[in-house]
Amino acid sequence: MREIRWHGRGGQGAKSMSQVLAEAWLRQGRWVQAFPEYGPERSGAPVTAYTRADARPIRIHHAVRNPDAVVVLDPSLLGEVPVTAGLRPGGFVLVNSPESASSLAERLPGVRVLRVDGSALARTAGGNYANVVLLGAVAGVLGEPALEALQQAFAATFAKLSPEAVAVNFKALEAGYRAALEEAERPGPGAVQAAPTPREDLPGAVVLAQDAPHPRTGGWRTGLKPAVRLEACVNCLLCWVYCPDAAILTENQAFVGFDYQHCKGCELCVKACPTAAIEMVPEGLELVGQGQLTPRTQGGRHA
């Protein structure tokens, strides 16, 4: 049996690709299974999905524990999710990243790391979605299913796409399938993270402030973050009241900025601000005047 684990963020198409891969294998006479693992169902939140393929019917119904291959659609997940957990000996982790394979291998010691800049290849093909490139790439490494089967499966799954969009995605699939993947491996143990056990002394799932296994929900933002023009801020702290993630930072009851590690980019602060001092800006840019942006300077206090 072949078992693949997909890591992405909500909206990046990890679940869709797990299904297209299964569909392609099905078209080549394999028995298959594709399923996601649902967590916080929100765009930007970490998503895990699985694909299985076998020569005989698949009856098991549980998560893949020891995958042959792991596909990581978003490199920002590497510090957030144990992507190498349970990887089978001889298996590999395929990461979509502009970063070099050897640099990625430093962060994923003990496993074979393959790297492709799927986002760049997708743009070259005329598309936006790295997931299709990674689908092509993982099939290319495994040697199956065939590129034609992947393309047929894609067209069948996304039957409502225009012929132009399908053509772009076919190109992206092929680019991934034929891509020369960079490869590296560093010695070390494959990371396995045990789930935390709820504390016996805190009945009722009470979570103390200091114990909070606070997920870095800042990774859930999808391209935009809040920014402030402090000269327009009247320090009413309505943003502090409305922020669902306690990501408004204060000092002596005065607004000082955002905790971008936890801000999910929900924009409630923008809506709550009575003086329009807060705006959403693209990641990596800073607000210098109303609607005026500048590339981020180093050493930003709360970045």
Binding site: G39, A205, L208
Partner: protein
Amino acid sequence: MLEAPALSLLTGGEAVAVAVRQIDPDVFPVYPITPQTPIIQSFAQMVADGQARTEIINVESEHSAMSAAAAAALAGARTLTATSSQGLALMVEVVYIAASLRAPVVMAVGNRALSGPINIHADHSDAMLARDTGWVQLFAENAQEAYDLMLLAPRLAEHPEVRLPVMVGLDGFTITHSAEPVALLGDAKVQAWVGEYRHPYPLLDTANPVTVGPFAMPDSYFELRYQLQEALERVPGVLEALCRGYARLSGREYAAFESYRLEDAERALVVMGSAAGTAKEAIDRLREQGEKVGLLKLRLFRPFPAQALREALAHVPHVAVLDRALSLGSFPPLYAEVCAALYGSPTRLQSYAGGLGGREIYTEDLMRLFGELAELPAGPTRYVGLRR
């Protein structure tokens, strides 16, 4: 302060209201429903007359009543409430949540049939609806027991080994609306008994903020449910110790169940609630005729004291279980529990159901039951008082 007179003539509902007044909880969110209404009616009068400092919250539904109750208990307030039948059915979603949040709420339940057809009378179907919620469930035989169990309940609910909500059931109308003599404790004695409510992580302690009611993924939900199971398993031991203390205080003995003329019994009945009193009467009459019959009256239904019950019935060849509820399509709930507890034992069990929707269970019915018990071939549930 004067001690209350030796015996007061009170309905079960009034006896519960007196217990609530003496406990003097901080918060009592409630929505009235027959036959629970006299509890809140009596208690609201007491609060209006300045006899309790409780904040009664008039909510718009039982769903809100339990939501407010769980939240108040977690905020750091001792919280009691009461309900019945459809009210419990409406609140049941939050009944689960109160247990999982380990909110030590105490709730009196005027046990009554569930619709439909609509019926307001005595029946245990409402309590059975909540048997898997994680609450401790106690059943009273009469007004005195309802009063005493209400005073035991906060100590049990708030005990650090337990920290679970507790339901005290009393049969609708048969007990809630029947006036019987009740021995009350003095107010000061009750206050000293219940002591001060302390929650270790009250929501209103803003200097030590906590998260309550978080989302639990597959990696932790199971452990949290298991914590509930373990807490319930600690209840019998804690209850036993509390009952010893309460006996010193009141002179009245309580336990998870009561055995009545069971020592040498050849035939026994297992029952909960008001029918247990009738059963004692039937047993006395049969004993006068030389029949070796006895009773096991169960007070603690959740957690189910399976091992103790098995030991108590080990020597009895024939045991009947009389349910005041059905589990439609299967064996009645109490019978199924007793059956599981006695699995592998040589005791022969027979299921009976009766008293649904307030149908009377007469002394003669139970005498007849004992009469046929030893002769019956093994068979399905038999129905007491059913016309067909």
